[in-house]
């Protein structure tokens, strides 16, 4: 038995908040700031943590994870920066189009799957696009303790360089920005070369960038323990399928544009979750019976688990086939 107290509801504890500021930063990215509705201070968080934002979009409840990018030392606000994804599932569009100052919303307590390793002698950050957000908080945290860090930030154009100017002005010797439209590329191999022993690198950005940093660091002899990454996956649409949940004793339909986890929640099943992006492992579910193929998309289970057909992460993974029975 785990020593942790059993929670009554799935997910992290919730906080009622009021939107206190909506700040467009450029064509794609807007910052949203929240105050607690009860006027109290927010719980402290460690840099790299995310919160799950609950959006009431008509009948539909959307739950999207966003990195907290405000200063962890400032307990009066939580802030997130959201990139509008016109091809996405609609969460970011809802934030951009519907959310106004004064709106009541719900956030979860922060959960950190991308924390600083404070044993590091030096921290090197690699950000791609909106992947800058967790590093805003990390830089604020490290600056408090005079930490040794540097940032290498790739963005498409100066106009889309979210926080690029602000960071460059504040830390001109530590922040290095690379613009795609000027054919500038992060000189990753040179940067990995010659770092002092005990350096940790952190990468947040598109999948290709994360894989590039992991693979290059491994080839340079970096221990995997010194390379940290975070990528939230959005559930991808897929063919509808039917699932039998044997503990709940119901059979549910998973629609084309919803995840298995969302379908369970829609049918009133209180399934566990934290990150909703395939990273934290909280929603891991045992497969009782399956006839068909799994579409595993998570970062949590290893290849062996994926091949075994005994486990599934319902937040991002799907199923194609005749029968699927889950122990939920």
């Amino acid at each position: 038995m785990s020593a942790a107290p059993q929670k009554a509801k799935a997910g992290a504890e919730k906080i009622a908040v009021t939107v206190s500021a909506v700040v467009p930063l450029n064509d794609l990215v807007t910052r949203f700031e929240f105050k607690r509705t009860d006027g109290a201070e927010f719980p402290p968080f460690s840099a790299g943590a995310h919160t799950v934002v609950e959006m009431q979009d008509g009948d539909r409840t959307r739950l999207n994870p966003y990195s907290l990018m405000s200063d962890p030392a400032d307990r009066s606000i939580y802030a997130i920066s959201v990139r509008r994804d016109d091809q996405g599932r609609g969460g970011s569009l809802f934030m951009h189009q519907k959310v106004k100052v004064g709106d009541a919303m719900t956030l979860t307590y922060p959960v950190n799957l991308f924390s600083l390793d404070l044993r590091a002698k030096k921290h090197v950050f690699f950000a791609g696009g909106i992947g800058i957000t967790p590093f805003k908080a990390m830089i604020a945290q490290l600056e408090q303790s005079n930490g040794n860090w540097e940032l290498h930030y790739a963005c498409r154009t100066p106009a889309l360089g979210t926080y690029a100017d602000e960071l460059t002005n504040a830390y001109p010797n530590k922040v290095h920005v690379y613009y795609d439209d000027q054919n500038q590329v992060i000189p990753l191999e040179d940067l990995l070369d010659g770092q002092p022993l005990g350096t940790h690198v952190y990468v947040c950005g598109p999948t290709g960038m994360i894989d590039w940093v992991h693979a290059t660091a491994a080839a340079h002899g970096w221990p995997s323990e010194n390379v940290h990454s975070e990528e939230f996956l959005a559930p991808q649409p897929g063919k509808p399928f039917e699932v039998r949940l044997c503990q709940s004793d119901i059979t549910i339909q998973v629609g084309e544009h919803e995840s298995l986890l969302e379908a369970m929640e829609r049918c009133g099943v209180d399934a566990p979750f934290l990150c909703r992006g395939g990273a934290c492992g909280q929603c891991e579910t045992d497969v009782v019976e399956a006839e068909g193929d799994f579409v595993h998309r998570d970062h949590w289970l290893d290849d062996e688990d994926h091949a075994s057909g005994k486990k599934i992460m319902p937040c991002v993974s799907r199923f194609v086939g005749k029968t699927l029975v889950l122990d939920r």
Binding site: L192, G194, H220
Partner: protein, 200 residues
């Protein structure tokens, strides 16, 4: 044969592996006595390895030094004892950069102490390779006087500092790189079992 299969034990007891070449910008190999054989086998697996390798070797009365020199490592240092070599180990680690691979081979006392140096220099313990070779002698801490007795080969043994009769435990301290020795005749002084050689 210099290999020994330790019986399974408690979680605190270190477990050693087999050295394998890994990609890296530089390689630091620290070995004593028969640990040289592990380095010789490692070198035979990757001809390019030695050009980027610094070997720190403590012979402890064995005659492997010439064979190690013949591998033509980038640097070779032979020390009379671990204590005499530790300053060099600290200097090498202090000057090192990310991409350094560390390989430890030989006795448990050497590997444990060198592991401590590498970890405090910033390398995670799980990224440091170890291979036990040669003597199964242990570096023991007397839990009563805290004195360290090196190269203990019998159980029980007499603490070289306070003279108590100590029982050899598998309980290991990474911080001290030593096993714990506990007084075996505290309740009935003088009632000490006949010492037996470890693992015999």
């Amino acid at each position: 044969m210099s290999k020994f299969q330790f019986p399974e034990s408690i979680a605190s007891r270190p477990v050693y592996g087999t050295l394998e070449p890994r990609p890296g910008k530089a390689h630091l190999m620290i070995a004593d006595a028969e640990g040289a054989e592990a380095i010789l086998e490692l070198a035979s697996q990757d001809a390019a390895l030695m050009a980027k390798t610094h070997i720190i070797y403590i012979p402890k009365g064995t005659d492997f030094s010439e064979k190690l020199r013949a591998l033509k490592p980038a640097q070779f240092y032979e020390g009379p004892s671990y204590d005499a070599s530790v300053q060099r180990i600290q200097k090498v680690l202090g000057d090192a950069h990310m991409g350094l691979q560390v390989y430890l081979a030989g006795t448990e006392g050497l590997m444990g102490q060198a592991m401590n140096e590498a970890v405090s220099a910033g390398i995670p313990a799980s990224a440091i390779q170890t291979e036990h070779r040669g003597s199964v002698a242990r570096r023991m801490q007397c839990v009563h006087c805290k004195g360290i007795t090196e190269d203990v080969v019998t159980d029980p043994f007499v603490c070289s500092h306070c003279g108590l009769n100590l029982f050899v435990r598998d309980h290991y301290s990474r911080r001290l790189a030593a096993f714990q020795g506990v007084c075996i005749d505290a309740e009935d002084p003088g009632n000490v079992p006949e010492p037996v050689e470890l693992y015999k």
